[in-house]
């Protein structure tokens, strides 16, 4: 899972884009235009490095926090096969976080600093994981639709310009395809099951639709900043384009099962070929980012407790002669 496309960037604290050496900058942009990848020790503009660290780090945090709502149902999965699949998926997500932290480390931010920023609330993660997984049907909706939305974003980003991030995403996308399939399987079994099971999956869908519509972030105006990030292949598609692509691919798969979505205005305009929908509540979106969602406090408390209670184990294993070296690629 779980990179959302929406990359939180505090506008008030955002530094001005730095002036760069015009010769180096032209060479850098020419390499990207030729489709070359930028690698860890290459020259890069400060703003390119800053944005990539922010994006990869938020993606890593999303993977690790995303394991929490899904992990909720491991103990009560209906049957051994579903339990095995869910454990495997949750392990994959934590593994993805490791891959992404390593990719971000190559840009010069240590893993410890990233985890500190997560625990202290300075660094964000995908908003969807601040909502509770109330029933087993929530696992179906997360595994099917949130993973699907994440794949739309990650497939786009895997064609970006930073080598280590692209390589991590290729591995991640390969594993995500299993997540999507198993999520769809749970979803279909519930939707074609007893009336109670259908009601359960419909209820989960109703509750998750707004967070899913939030997932790609608000409509992004084509500012000069966005334009630069797209030219540098940091951002590969606009939030609106990714949302449209997601709706085209997955709304029919929901409707074909006779389920409904809680938006009477949701339809594809045959003339423009674009989906029309009711704007989700963006105030709620920003409130949840600020930390006021239903599960923000619990998610961070669990993550903090894991670090606190594991500290003595890490300290016991640490060797006096150890010496950290930034990953090579």
């Amino acid at each position: 899972m779980y990179g959302g496309g929406y990359i939180h960037d505090d506008q008030k604290k955002k530094p001005e884009m730095q002036a760069e050496d015009p010769v180096l900058l032209a060479e850098f942009e020419a390499r990207i235009a030729r489709g070359e990848k930028i690698e860890p020790r290459d020259w890069m503009p400060a703003d390119y490095r800053r944005q990539l660290i922010r994006m990869i780090e938020q993606h890593a945090h999303s993977e690790i926090i995303g394991a929490l709502p899904e992990g909720t149902w491991i103990t009560r999965a209906p049957g051994f096969r579903r339990k095995l699949a869910l454990m495997a998926k949750v392990q994959d997500e934590v593994g993805h976080a490791q891959l992404l932290y390593s990719a971000a480390e190559t840009l010069g931010k240590s893993r410890e600093d990233m985890i500190n920023d997560l625990i202290n609330g300075k660094s964000k993660y995908s908003n969807v994981f601040n909502y509770p997984a109330k029933t087993w049907a929530d696992v179906a909706v997360i595994g099917f639709l949130i993973d699907a939305a994440a794949i739309v974003n990650q497939v786009a980003n895997s064609k970006g310009s930073y080598g280590p991030y692209c390589r991590a995403l290729e591995r991640i996308c390969y594993e995500e395809s299993f997540h999507l399939k198993q999520g769809h399987s749970v979803f279909v079994y519930l939707a074609t099951g007893t009336p109670t099971q259908r009601a359960m999956v419909q209820d989960a869908l109703n509750r998750w639709w707004q967070p899913i519509m939030h997932f790609f972030g608000p409509s992004d105006k084509m500012s000069q900043h966005t334009e630069t990030l797209m030219r540098w292949k940091v951002k590969m598609a606009s939030n609106d384009d990714m949302r449209q692509q997601f709706l085209t691919m997955y709304v029919p798969k929901i409707w074909e099962l006779g389920l409904t979505l809680p938006d009477p205005n949701l339809k594809k305009n045959p003339e423009t070929n674009q989906w029309e929908f009711t704007e989700p509540d963006w105030n709620e979106f920003y409130e949840v980012i600020k930390g006021n969602g239903p599960c923000n406090a619990e998610r961070l408390a669990v993550r903090r407790t894991a670090e606190e209670r594991g500290a003595w184990v890490r300290a016991a294993l640490k060797r006096a002669d150890q010496h950290y070296v930034t990953p090579l690629a």
């Binding site: 929490l68 103990t75 390593s102 893993r111 202290n120 669990v302 300290a315 640490k318 010496h323 090579l328």
Partner: protein
């Protein structure tokens, strides 16, 4: 009051819901060193570089490498190497290789004698 979660495992942790985030900060190197991981798919094939793990020692690095890079698909073997033991060239020095493609005397294509032979044979006939 402890956190009451939908996840029974989280409830059992007994986390104080009121506890504000202390100034808890991980120190540098608390997550140890890095190791490069090399993965072999089949016996007789090359080991390929697949990524990195953080670990306190080589044995743990191998264990983490198994969890991280051999969860699915085929694997017969893994190597790990402490990143600090990798001596790598600097990409800025790549120009030391720039004349390599010019060294045609190292290449079979650098030895063309057919024209000589043809000329020799023709000269023989003319005699």
């Amino acid at each position: 009051m402890n956190i009451q979660s939908l996840d029974p495992r989280v409830t059992r942790l007994g986390i104080d819901a009121e506890e504000k985030n202390p100034d808890q900060t991980l120190q540098r190197e608390e997550h140890w060193e890095t190791y490069q991981v090399f993965h072999q798919k089949k016996r007789g094939e090359k080991h390929s570089s697949v990524g990195v793990v953080h670990a306190p020692n080589a044995e743990m690095a191998l264990l983490f490498a198994k969890e991280q890079y051999a969860r699915r698909g085929e694997t017969v073997n893994l190597w790990i190497v402490n990143t600090r033991d990798v001596l790598a060239m600097d990409y800025d020095d790549y120009d030391v290789f720039s004349t390599t493609p010019e060294k045609m005397y190292r290449d079979p294509a650098g030895y063309k004698v057919n024209e000589k032979i043809a000329a020799f044979k023709k000269a023989q006939l003319d005699v």
